[in-house]
């Protein structure tokens, strides 16, 4: 089980992810609503894993991923975005994302992906 930071600009998606991850026994150590906040929270909380929305105001998920990887090259970040943004998948994986989930998602599959990334 891991200490997880959830990054998404919508409260609804953060709450949904929080519920899913909590039901899987994970500890939600923090939440961030944009990329800047995500980088700051990562530095402060040193989570085991980050779920990162791609499309966000100000600093987007890809930029935040770069920022987090600059702090910790081994950071485990799972990107999270809507369907039809496949270009983002490639870019995120190139940038160092360890996993990818597509909205809408189903709880058991999300937990499986998080477990895989945490144990990688």
């Amino acid at each position: 089980m891991g200490r997880i930071l959830i990054v998404d600009d919508t409260l609804f998606m953060r709450t949904l992810l929080k519920n899913i991850l909590f039901s899987g026994g994970h500890d939600i150590v923090g939440e961030a609503g944009d990329g800047d906040e995500a980088i700051a929270k990562y530095q402060e909380l040193k989570p085991d894993l980050v779920t990162m929305d791609v499309v966000m105001p100000k600093v987007n998920g890809i930029e935040a991923l770069k920022g987090i990887r600059a702090i910790d090259p081994n950071a485990k970040v799972v990107m999270c975005t809507a369907v039809g943004q496949e270009q983002m998948v490639k870019l995120a994986i190139k940038t160092g994302a360890k996993g990818y989930i597509v909205k809408p998602f189903q709880a058991p599959k999300v937990l499986e992906e998080i477990k895989n990334v945490l144990s990688s």
Partner: protein, 269 residues
């Protein structure tokens, strides 16, 4: 070509038997005799480890066959490639996404798509995937990067048990258009027309999709159960949801209260 062991249903009973798998037909040799030319098969469904083979006739004859995975694979391949169906050569990737998670080892399979009465089959030498038409949730032609080129593909979302799965089909655009038109027509009952969901109902839908139960939904959206029940009613009426279980809330009667009160009293000396 090969005599394979099967279990076959007859008159509601499962019987142990044998089927002779040939290039153009399969013949039941035990416990009864029946020749099934693949060309006469008009529908092929798969439910867990059972193949449901419908052969043309008046009325059509239905065979339910169970066997080990290897035998079923061979049967599926033979039937899907030769049965009476709309068939096209194509590449397919299935599943590409499962429950919102990218399938990392998903690859393009070279094979055929066979569209039957109730099911679409993706068939290659090593893989046979069936998608029941009633399980198709959405479809669109979209672009996907294949070998550094953006190409047109058919994106098909469908249910597989309780998972929502995305599969892709790659073939010439004109063929994709024929395929999508057929699928749209075959699944028109699933289209939502007229009535739109309000934002809260849409959020409820999203939470159900993600696997949340009513208690979690109430807490997350901060809505009373009465309102949630009304939204459920709407989803049920639109055919967008089905009842899986009814949970009851109860309160204790005086008898129950008495029992609980007694049970927490320290034991008398």
């Amino acid at each position: 070509m090969a005599l394979v062991p099967v279990k076959i249903e007859k008159d509601g009973k499962w019987l142990v038997g044998k089927i002779d798998l040939q290039q153009d037909s399969m013949n039941v040799v035990e416990p009864f005799k029946a020749a099934i030319p693949y060309k006469s098969v008009i529908d092929l469904e798969e439910k867990k480890n059972v193949l449901i083979v419908t052969v043309k006739g008046d009325p059509p004859v239905i065979y339910r066959i169970a066997s080990v995975e290897k035998v079923l694979q061979a049967m599926k391949r033979f039937i899907a490639m030769s049965c009476s169906a709309y068939r096209l050569m194509a590449y397919f990737m299935s599943p590409a996404v499962r429950g919102g998670v990218m399938v990392t080892n998903a690859t393009w399979e070279k094979g055929a798509i066979a569209v039957l009465k109730s099911t679409i089959w993706f068939v290659s030498q090593n893989k046979q995937v069936s998608v029941a038409l009633k399980e198709v949730t959405s479809m669109e032609i979209t672009k996907k990067e294949v070998q550094k080129n953006q190409v047109d593909v058919l994106k098909l979302d469908h249910m597989e048990n309780t998972d929502v799965v995305t599969s892709y089909v790659l073939c010439p655009l004109s063929t994709l258009q024929i395929l999508i038109n057929f699928l749209k027509d075959a699944t028109k009952d699933l289209e939502i027309t007229g009535e739109e969901l309000d934002p809260v109902a849409a959020q409820v839908g999203m939470l159900i999709y993600s696997g949340m139960d009513s208690h979690a939904i109430e807490k997350m959206l901060n809505i009373p159960y009465k309102n949630l029940d009304e939204i459920y009613e709407k989803l049920l009426k639109l055919g967008m949801a089905e009842v899986t279980q009814v949970r009851r809330e109860v309160q204790l009667t005086p008898k129950g209260v008495r029992f609980i009160t007694e049970s927490v009293k320290p034991p008398t000396q």
